[in-house]
């Protein structure tokens, strides 16, 4: 009886173990995606129009701040490209980048599809979407 219970519980334990590992891997990718978005916002916010600052003393983002944010976001996603279900440049292109002029603020929100092969095998969920939001302003 004990042997049957042990043999019966073994697959359940293995499923729990595999799911835990996949969840851990997913959390790592999520942290990396957040870092990528944070860096993109920081770089875009630092991209100030110096001529305007010298002329008026006002902080103003350059006209291509949104494009800069997307480029840096894509650059930083490259290091985890193998874990993503879509190319980093496509994720960055589809991300919502909002640039507010006053006060100068950059906001990024994106949905990042991540490969989760274990979830795919166990729950028919091979791709898990991670939604991120981040914002930064110039001071």
């Amino acid at each position: 009886m004990t042997a049957i219970t042990t043999i019966g519980l073994l697959p359940v334990l293995l499923v729990i173990l595999a799911s835990s590992l996949e969840l851990g891997a997913l959390r790592i990718v999520e942290a990396r995606v957040h870092s990528a978005a944070d860096l993109a916002v920081l770089v875009a916010v630092n991209d100030q129009d110096d001529a305007e600052l010298a002329r008026t003393g006002r902080l103003q983002l350059t006209s291509d701040a949104a494009a800069m944010a997307r480029a840096v976001f894509a650059d930083n996603l490259e290091s985890i490209a193998s874990a993503l279900a879509v190319d980093p440049s496509v994720i960055a292109a589809n991300a919502s980048v909002r640039v507010d002029p006053a006060p100068p603020t950059v906001r990024i929100s994106a949905v990042v599809p991540v490969r989760t092969p274990v979830f795919g095998a166990l729950f028919f969920h091979p791709v898990t979407d991670i939604a991120i939001k981040t914002a930064g302003g110039a001071r």
Binding site: T6, G24, R32, L42, V43, M68, D75, E78, S79
Partner: protein, 128 residues
Amino acid sequence: MGRDDRGLATLETVLMVTMLVPMLFSIIEFGSLFQRWLAQESATIQVARFAAEVGGDTPEVRALFADTLRSTGFTSADAVLDIAPSRVGWRQPLTVTVRSTASIQIPFLFGADVPLRTTAVVRGELDR
């Protein structure tokens, strides 16, 4: 307890120990690995931000890297810092990579050196 029952109890204990001990050590070792990765990731981003401000690879950047790692319980001798290119101008891409190796040991299963690589890409903020 009869002779057969004692044998069964021993078998159950052996099964439990050989399964639970690796599981417990896996949790501890992977948790430690994750903590180390987070510390390295954080140091990489800080170093990248500072390197962008000062225009690339300088002794001050290396000093910040050593200080940041030390504050998280590691030493710069444990990790290799790579900044490319060594000098950047305004809006030029700057890639900072940190490589290190973490050792994990899981009883009854395996022991391995896990390479940890973190990268941050920023833009130069000097010489506008």
